[in-house]
Symmetry: C2
Subunit: 382 residues, 2 copies
């Protein structure tokens, strides 16, 4: 094994852990918190709840509500201006991946200046960031744990991956009680996002024993508890999905991902598709593409989802992939690209694959993938 | 599940990772490193090797060599004086638990003042500590990962547990190549120390899913690879033991331990016994004591060490404990207290148990244990 690095934030996990938000901000030296969220979280009442908690702890804040799904470069740059103008310090974000990635992007620009596209790729942020407390409202994106930040470059219509250790927030608060206000669709999409993180991190060329155990745990939990969570909406099941999302995030943050996420970023940048929508379409196709290069690892995943091994690693791996396909099909999600992209836009896939091949995630795919091979995968699942 | 916190340092793991020590110190703002180690590590050449690495990176240092096994309060206080007098900043320690715990104790006194006994127990350190880079030379103590610091109070002849999140160092460097210079005895004792961490963290009343998976992974790895490591001394096996030690440390640092460690601290304070010597004597006796209160969890441990389950959780748990006993017996270690303590000192066990019952680790034992019950356990393994 080569040298491997493993970095995660301090995690405060559990029902009611949101109540620690004010204390966390104070512990990081807050005098004026920069609060980031979006309209959906506001509407569900969580922004007001968080403001009440900050107030109770005597923490001042300034609220930046300008978050949209799949955050864009301009929003991040406007947010940084707002941060600096108001003399804010600790950044506290509550929301899904979009709100948290917006907060991270604002942190980069506020302390490093320039344009967010200057930081695309791995390890390009040099100055330390403002302290961050991230509070996830989904069990999926993992932005509250990870060193990743995904921002759309509007001009190029691509989701940029910005990856650096300094993007690991100081504190991640994961309160499963927040999941109770989520729709069934969002719970499914988020869990599938976490599942894709776990799978691609597990087969990544830079996976380590520390990330591998987290990946397998996440896969196991999502297979067991997502169907039950959808059916019962019980807090016990939602909590298990939260644990899975945290585990998957520890894994992918440190092991990175693969070709499927590279494609998801490019597709998402062009068509504003959420990750959770892309994965059921592409993940198993990419796993089949990787089979010869990651047979043993895909067999490990097979063993977890099948709860047994077959006669050979290859059979176990293939049966596991089929089991995953059946799992996706059991939910009300698209399984073909044509369900999400209109026929007239099909020709754009070529340029999407040419972008995806340069995404940082493609570097750690177990099988090197050219844009032509990525295009073949997209055509296979059209 | 209640609210749980999970905090670990940034970990740099792998063969040759020692080479990152200088860069790590610089990243934490070092101008004059306070270097801590002991005579054994010096003799093995690792202190010189570390100095060469610091020199190459242009890092100045001042060397504090005053570490002994089972570090004492006075040493820590002298070390802090030396730190302050020399205007040092980042603390870099290389060694086993003793060197790293000395470094942590020095960090506490240098920034918080007073006597080290003022900080005994949980969460009693208020001011932030100097940045720390800890480099473990054993696969056992876990001090490089944990929020624990164990210092002997000479007057009371007790090992004090000091536990606080700020004791988690900034960076832990784990380089399995360093293990090649270790004796067989030390490799066995260290691995058994890690095993005891994993077992007691797993049955702790504040274990969480994040610590549980680390515990079981560590137990599995130590069972599989300690015999092979002793036999072959191969770097592959030593690396597995390092992974196990890191995993076990992530677990116990966040889940704490149990009655066995409470006893180990008191015995160690009185008789200067290393943890790795105490555990083979006491661990399984404490597991039997806990059986009615942690049957399911002990059955999980049984499943891992037996690689199968028996007809009932209780049978699996008991067979697992027997398997552990056989495992300890397969190494050249003491299995009875009388092999380590002379008959004339046996009467001291009573006062040792009266001290142990107040150790912070005893609070999280699955079965509440009085000093009389602890004494009965000691007599059982006499």
């Amino acid at each position: 094994m080569n040298i491997t690095k493993f970095a995660i934030p301090e995690i405060i996990f559990g029902r009611g852990s949101l109540n620690y938000a004010g204390q966390c901000a104070l512990r990081l030296g807050a005098r004026k918190v920069f609060l980031v969220s979006d309209a959906g979280i506001e509407k569900a009442g969580w922004v007001q709840r968080l403001m009440d908690i900050l107030k109770k702890e005597g923490v001042e804040w300034i609220y930046y509500p300008g978050v949209t799904p799949n955050p864009r470069d301009v929003q991040v740059e406007q947010g940084a201006e707002f941060y600096l103008k108001n003399g804010a310090d600790v950044i506290v974000a509550i929301g899904g991946g979009s709100a948290m990635d917006t907060a991270k992007g604002i942190a980069i620009i506020a302390s490093n200046g320039g344009h967010i596209r200057d930081y695309e790729g791995a390890n390009r942020v040099s100055r330390p960031l403002p302290p961050m407390v991230l509070i996830t409202t989904t069990a999926g994106s993992g932005s509250d744990i990870s060193q990743f930040c995904i921002i759309t470059d509007v001009k190029r219509a691509v989701k940029m991956s910005i990856i650096t250790r300094t993007l690991v927030p100081n504190i991640s608060i994961v309160d499963p009680l927040i999941l109770r206000t989520k729709s069934e669709t969002l719970i499914i999409q988020s869990a599938i996002d976490a599942l894709a993180h776990a799978v691609e991190a597990y087969t990544s060329t830079i996976a380590s024993p520390f990330t591998e155990m987290q990946s397998l745990k996440a896969i196991d939990l999502i297979f067991t508890y997502l169907p039950r969570a959808v059916e019962t909406r019980s807090i016990d099941c939602l909590e298990k999905l939260s644990i899975a999302a945290v585990s998957a995030s520890m894994a992918f943050s440190n092991a990175s991902l693969g070709a499927e996420h590279a494609l998801a970023h490019s597709l998402g940048g062009r068509f504003d598709m959420r990750h959770g929508v892309v994965h059921p379409i592409l993940l198993t196709a990419v796993m089949r593409f990787n089979l010869d290069y990651a047979e043993k690892k895909l067999a490990d995943i097979g063993r977890v989802v099948l709860n047994k091994t077959l006669d050979s690693p290859r059979e176990t791996a293939l049966a596991g992939i089929e089991r995953l396909e059946a799992f996706f099909a059991s939910f009300n999600v698209s399984l073909k690209l044509r369900q999400e992209i209109s026929e007239k836009d099909k020709h754009i896939l070529k340029s999407i694959c040419k972008t995806a091949v340069n995404d940082a995630c493609n570097l750690t795919n177990p099988r090197p993938a050219s844009w032509q091979e990525l295009l073949a995968i997209c055509q296979e699942v059209w």
